[in-house]
């Protein structure tokens, strides 16, 4: 019943979906990172009491960001498992902000400093699918719904052609914990439907919580990734914690505010970065433009490194770790520079634009 033409078509369709997933995960990172980096850190604050402001929010956003990076690796594993080519440095596909995710159906992502509206926006990004039954039919409005759809397509393809014909990728391209230096969960090497399912579930669990298969209703425990020895909460609730200045307790119920200990949030200890900065904002200030270009070059180096790592050159992943550190330094450098055009009321910020590296 199966024929080669069909399987090629299905593979291409799955590949396109997963490529979209890759871009989806990537598109969350610049907004999260920008908000995180805009928070003033130790040494930048001025108070007599020995307390670092906003240590917790920095940690919360950082943890989410680290998990999004893990999700990118998992999606790359999925793509390589079915012999599709992950691409992360194609300017046509890369996100530009502001944008609406999920083909305009999802929430809006912007490049803004750490502020309540931005955290609310992050919370929306990580919201669980309301009705998983709908999402399996391309009507997804949430990232979780989108992944349910991807999983459904993958299962269908396996049913139609058999698992062995779908998972034909080169096993040497799979990342496992041995190749991935960082925290955020387990790296799952994908080689069949079962491992593919585990990988997709990990992505969904960390993001939206355990709204898989059953709808999480009121009076349920706050969803947490399954199988964790210690208790963690999904991204949605992590952002909720920041907005409430309070941690969730294990006993808290869905729909109720968190009731744990204080989470210190100071919305004022933040660099006043201009919302959604554009290249045009720096046109009249060559010094800022130079800083901005330098940042973009680092960002491009990161994407090129990722692209190489996902396409067979696994050690490239470790080599981009220092680039990530310099991205942070360079972003914060930009955020410390006031913009003359705005009467020095706001500061510059990173643009996160890819500039193709010129061959030399």
């Amino acid at each position: 019943m199966t024929n080669d033409k069909n399987i090629d078509h299905d593979r291409a369709e799955l590949g396109a979906l997963l490529q979209k997933a890759l871009m989806l995960e990537l598109s969350t990172i610049p907004p999260y990172a920008t908000a995180c980096y805009s928070i003033k850190e130790q040494g930048q604050y001025d108070r007599s009491s020995p307390e670092i402001v906003n240590a917790e929010p920095i940690e919360v956003i950082r943890q989410v960001m680290v998990e999004e990076m893990l999700h990118m690796v998992l999606v790359a594993n999925l793509m390589n498992a079915i012999n599709c080519k992950p691409v992360v440095n194609d300017p046509k596909q890369l996100p530009s902000y502001p944008m609406r995710i999920l083909d305009g159906k999802g929430p809006e992502l912007r490049l803004r400093r750490f502020m309540p509206d931005q955290i609310k926006c992050f919370r929306e990004v990580e919201r669980a699918p309301k009705d998983p039954a709908n999402d399996a039919h391309r009507d997804y409005e949430t990232i979780g719904g989108f992944y349910l759809y991807v999983l459904g397509m993958l299962e269908k393809a396996c049913a139609a052609h058999g698992e062995r014909k779908i998972f034909i990728g080169d096993a040497a391209r799979q990342f496992n914990s041995d190749d991935y230096y960082g925290a955020g969960g387990d790296v799952i090497a994908v080689h069949d439907l079962a491992t593919a399912r585990t990988a997709i579930r990990e992505i969904m669990d960390e993001g939206e919580g355990a709204a898989l298969g059953h709808s999480a209703c009121d009076n349920d425990l706050i969803p947490a990734p399954k199988g964790e020895e210690r208790w963690d909460i999904a991204h949605f609730f992590k952002f909720d914690e920041i907005l409430h200045s309070r941690y969730y307790l294990p006993t808290d119920r869905l729909g109720e505010p968190p009731s744990g200990s204080d989470l210190v949030v100071d919305w004022t200890a933040v660099w006043p970065m201009k919302d959604d900065p554009k290249a045009a904002d720096y046109a009249s200030t060559p010094e800022i433009r130079e800083l901005s270009d330098r940042f973009n070059r680092s960002y491009s180096e990161l994407l090129d490194g990722l692209n190489a790592a996902f396409n067979g050159d696994k050690p490239a992943l470790a080599l981009i770790v220092p680039v990530m550190f310099s991205l942070k330094d360079q972003a914060q450098h930009l955020m410390r520079v006031p913009l003359p055009d705005t009467g020095y009321g706001t500061t510059a910020g990173p643009l996160w634009r890819y500039v193709p590296t010129t061959e030399s």
Partner: protein
């Protein structure tokens, strides 16, 4: 005296001290189904992320970033502080700080009395001892032999390495790979069990380490007396070709993935090691070491092991057992009081006296529970158990046992205090070598940790520092003031010169072994008590000629290495320094390494040792003393890994006795 209030709950085991030894004992015994109470003198600190943040804040704001700078030093529970160390003059004891120092040399080491213990500020160095270290008396006629050998301790080392989470490659850590001319050829056999490896891959060595490795190539050094810079080979087997070796470290790196079907050693679940943090909502994720360069005094990302990680496991075990026993599932239903029936860590509780019954067994422990950190008001309480364990560190174990009149038959209690006298050599390399980044130390030269020379002089290890002259000469701050005030530099010129100087700074740390000596001891004196009325440790300490000879040789070797590498020597030892000593007409100055070892040593003979090989005291059959104090000799390895292995061994012995 006020009558103590009786605790109404009895446990199988009471452990004094919530440090790494106590934590491992608690976790092991809980897993075996025992009930455990821990008494911790420190305040209710560190158990949540908020207090860990406070430690960090205090560290960032401390001007002198000493090992204890992030942590509270309360009048209720004082800790020794390195800033309190001054030369001891004449016969008047130095009573600065917590220790009472009788000299002739000041004891330069410190520890931390807090939840998690001194592992909060340790560096993470996790070296095993060498087979020869267990046989110092029979091989070299020095010190004493251990009642256990390396082979017997080896499985416990494995457990300890997997508990701490050590990053290293077994193939790089055999005596042979380390370039050690072992005193017996058989020492090289089966140093690691077949198929064994560390839970995580080695952390990368620093650029500076690689610089040493490259430039030291081909260097050979004689340990028999003369140096051999010219390369004329001597007849005997004392020529050592020193090797730069990656140091096994208790810090998170990449977990090792074992080949499919291979049996993973140690871990019963047969799964790869899971890196973890210690405290906070994200602890389960375990951040990786990212080179924040302040392992000592505190790791900001909790990538470095501290005992709070094991304590968290113990608490989780207690909780899951309570859930099973008292019903209820999930988070909400099991009551704290039910958990406390199985496992409880009681902080702010200072063990004050251990009481004996008529059969010379322990009947109870009297402790002082203070309600507010820093306020010296307390409630006197008494707790009873089947078995008692002192795990408060070498010095605190000794003072508590001495204050209670325990273990008197050998007269060894409190004696044989040892440390690694820590000396430095520093200089300027020809090229920038990138100090002040990465973990504080990632490699060492282990090649002189054993050899035939040990019948004459002490063995030692050389630790390569990644932080320039910071500890040696207060860099980079001292460089700034010297350039500004001494050379009147400013602006770009200052920046250039500062960069040029600081970037070339290298520093070697020398850790030399000490022999057990009866006169190096912890004692108590009613004249010296702390604010809670507890005995302060009174310490008599000296560094003997055996160690001094080792220091002198180590110094010579460092100079040879410097010359070979083209490093300009800047080492200078200040005769007014607290740890200044002389040997053979040359002066050196030493510091404490924070390795407090040997006050209640194990042994087979009750006349010469305090405990048996299972760390049960010879005199009291329901009392164990566990920790670095159990070690009969200090060897050249940083002692924490060995202490952790001994804690696993003691847990086995206690479980056997309880059956």
């Amino acid at each position: 005296m006020v009558q103590p209030l009786e605790d109404d709950r009895q446990y199988d085991v009471v452990i004094v001290g919530a440090g790494i030894a106590g934590a491992i004992l608690a976790k092991q015994l809980l897993a075996k189904g025992r009930t455990v109470l821990m008494l911790e003198a420190g305040a209710d600190h560190g158990q949540d992320w908020q207090t860990y943040r406070e430690y960090l804040d205090k560290f960032y704001l401390s001007l002198a970033k000493t090992p204890n700078s992030p942590y509270p030093n309360l009048p209720t529970v004082p800790s020794p502080e390195v800033l309190d160390i001054t030369p001891v003059r004449g016969t008047v004891p130095d009573t600065n700080g917590y220790f009472v120092q009788r000299g002739p040399m000041p004891f330069g080491s410190n520890y931390l009395r807090a939840y998690g213990g001194t592992t909060l500020h340790w560096l993470g160095t996790s070296l095993r001892m060498l087979p020869a270290d267990f046989e110092m008396a029979s091989r070299f006629g020095k010190g004493v032999d251990w009642p256990v050998g390396y082979t017997e301790l080896r499985p416990y080392y494995e457990k300890a390495e997997w508990e701490i989470g050590v990053s290293a490659e077994a193939a790089e850590q055999t005596p042979q790979a380390l370039g050690i001319r072992t005193s017996a050829a058989s020492d090289n056999k089966a140093y690691f069990a077949k198929g064994y490896d560390y839970p995580m891959h080695a952390l990368p060595t620093s650029y500076c380490d690689q610089y040493f490795e490259k430039r030291m190539q081909g260097l050979s050094i004689s340990t028999s007396g003369q140096r051999d810079p010219g390369g004329v080979p001597e007849q005997d087997a004392d020529i050592v070709e020193p090797k730069v070796a990656n140091t096994p470290q208790g810090r998170n790196s990449i977990p090792r993935v074992f080949a499919k079907g291979a049996k993973i050693p140690v871990d019963l679940k047969n799964t790869p090691y899971k890196p973890r943090g210690a405290t906070g909502a994200f602890a389960f994720m375990g951040q990786r070491c990212e080179g924040n360069t302040n392992c000592i005094p505190i790791c900001p990302v909790q990538a470095k092991y501290n005992a709070m990680k094991t304590l968290a496991d113990a608490e989780a075990l207690g909780k899951s057992r309570a859930e099973k026993k008292f019903g209820g599932k999930g988070f909400a239903t099991v009551k704290d009081d039910d958990i406390a029936k199985i496992f409880k860590v009681q902080t702010q509780s200072i063990a004050s006296r251990v009481e004996l019954d008529e059969n010379n067994r322990i009947s109870s422990i009297i402790y002082k529970r203070y309600a507010f950190p820093g306020v010296t008001q307390y409630e006197l309480r008494r707790v009873r158990a089947k078995t008692y364990v002192l795990a408060g560190g070498a010095v605190e174990n000794a003072t508590l046992a001495l204050a209670s009149g325990l273990c008197q038959s050998s007269q060894e209690l409190g004696r044989n205090l040892m440390d690694h006298p820590y000396m430095m050599a520093w200089g300027l390399a020809e090229h920038p070598i990138g100090p002040f980044r990465g973990p504080q130390s990632t490699a060492g030269i282990e090649s002189f940790r054993d050899g035939k020379f040990r019948d004459q002089k002490a063995a030692f290890r050389l630790e390569l520092g990644n932080t320039g002259w910071d500890f040696a000469a207060g860099a980079p701050y001292s460089n700034v003031s010297q350039l500004v005030e001494g050379e009147n530099l400013f602006g770009p010129g200052l920046r250039r010169k500062l960069y040029d100087d600081v970037q070339r700074q290298v520093r070697i740390g020398i850790l030399v072994e000490q022999l057990p000596k009866a006169s190096n001891r912890v004692s108590i004196d009613p004249a010296y008590r702390d604010a809670m009325g507890e005995y302060r440790p009174v310490i008599s300490y000296d560094v003997d000629d055996y160690s001094r000879a080792g220091l002198a040789m180590a110094h010579e070797i460092c100079m040879t290495i410097f010359r070979r590498m083209g490093i300009r020597n800047h080492t200078s030892y200040d005769p007014s320094a607290a740890g200044y000593l002389t040997y053979d007409g040359n002066g050196y100055s030493v510091f404490g390494a924070g390795h407090l070892v040997g006050t209640h040593r194990m042994g087979t003979d009750r006349k010469t040792s305090v405990t048996d090989a299972g760390m049960r005291t010879h005199d009291h059959d329901n009392l164990w003393m566990v920790g670095c104090g159990s070690m009969p000799t200090i060897a050249t390895s940083n002692p924490t890994l060995t202490l952790a292995a001994l804690a696993f061994k003691a847990a086995d012995a206690i479980e056997k006795a309880l059956k």
